[in-house]
């Protein structure tokens, strides 16, 4: 938790204050960057760029929202711009709507492990991953995600739906029983019933 005193000291450019802030929030920032871009080296670049923006605009942070929330927004913006510059969002149209579990992917028992889930998240197409990570992991609203991704709320909902379904397929595999059609509807049902 970052306190107001530390933020004020950072704003006054007091020696050591920004270093303290980076030490305190570095893991949060790096983790979010990694979850969004899906690559460790790129995540480090994104995190550094995000801190540079934080440093420049810290004086304008008015404290209307929690600092951590503001920080997450900055990281999300930088990560999304980074992915745009790498044309990852452009690839969305060419990517398959449905991803089928690849042989050797984690079995059902292993997926309870968070590390495994984080690894599977990285396999999602960039725009679907951004929507799922921001909504399901970090609690951003659909409208906020739409604003950050520069798209409509409908498009975000579609990416969320596809991303969740792909995640389920990657982890649990695609059902090929007579109930496959019903199983296909489970993500939408679970989301609609507040899971």
């Amino acid at each position: 938790m970052v306190d107001r005193d530390l933020l004020q000291r950072c704003g006054r450019r007091e020696p050591g204050a920004f270093e303290e802030l980076v030490e305190l929030t570095g893991r949060q920032v790096y983790t979010l960057a990694h979850r969004l871009v899906g690559d460790r080296q790129e995540a480090e670049d994104v995190a550094q760029e995000a801190y540079l923006r934080v440093y420049r605009s810290l004086r304008s942070f008015r404290g209307d929202s929690r600092f951590e929330t503001w920080l997450h927004r900055v990281v999300a913006n930088v990560a999304i711009n980074h992915m745009r510059s790498r044309a990852r969002f452009g690839e969305l149209m060419d990517e398959p709507e449905t991803i089928v579990r690849i042989p050797g992917a984690p079995s059902t028992d292993d997926v309870a492990e968070r590390e495994e889930l984080a690894g599977v998240l990285a396999q999602l197409p960039a725009a679907q991953r951004a929507a799922v990570v921001l909504k399901d992991v970090y609690g951003f609203s659909v409208s906020e995600i739409a604003e950050r991704l520069d798209t409509t709320e409908g498009a975000v909902k579609l990416r969320l739906h596809r991303g969740r379904r792909n995640l389920k397929n990657l982890i649990h595999g695609v059902r090929e029983s007579e109930h496959a059609e019903m199983a296909e509807r489970i993500p939408e049902y679970a989301e609609g019933t507040g899971a």
Binding site: V22, A47, G139, A190
Partner: protein, 106 residues
């Protein structure tokens, strides 16, 4: 919701699909907990951030110092100042002339 009625009936009677729903809900729950499961930063992460910030700060400082010490910038500033002074003088002369020409009120 009527469109989910058939699915709800099916879920009530099919253990496989009910299990699938439970696993999916578990997955969403685990997703939410990822937020609190933080990764370690790479070695030298903080030092890298501070070096980047310092380089940017130094960059601005250097730019200001360079402009302040550049003879071309001095000439440009003197020219701009001269132009500004000339414009103010012309404006004043024009204003005073215009005032003299105004007919005096009776």
């Amino acid at each position: 919701m009527p469109e989910t009625e058939d699915l709800e009936v099916h879920l009530a009677t099919c253990q496989d699909c009910a299990g699938e729903l439970a696993r999916y809900r578990g997955l969403l729950h685990t997703m939410g907990s990822l937020r609190y499961h933080l990764e370690e930063t790479p070695p030298g992460f903080t030092a890298g951030v501070l070096a980047l910030v310092a380089a940017t700060e130094q960059g601005w400082g250097e730019r200001i110092v360079r402009v302040a010490n550049d003879p071309k910038a001095h000439v440009a500033a003197a020219s701009f100042g001269g132009l500004l002074l000339g414009a103010v003088a012309i404006g004043l002369i024009w204003w005073r002339t215009a005032r003299r020409r105004e007919p005096r009120a009776a």
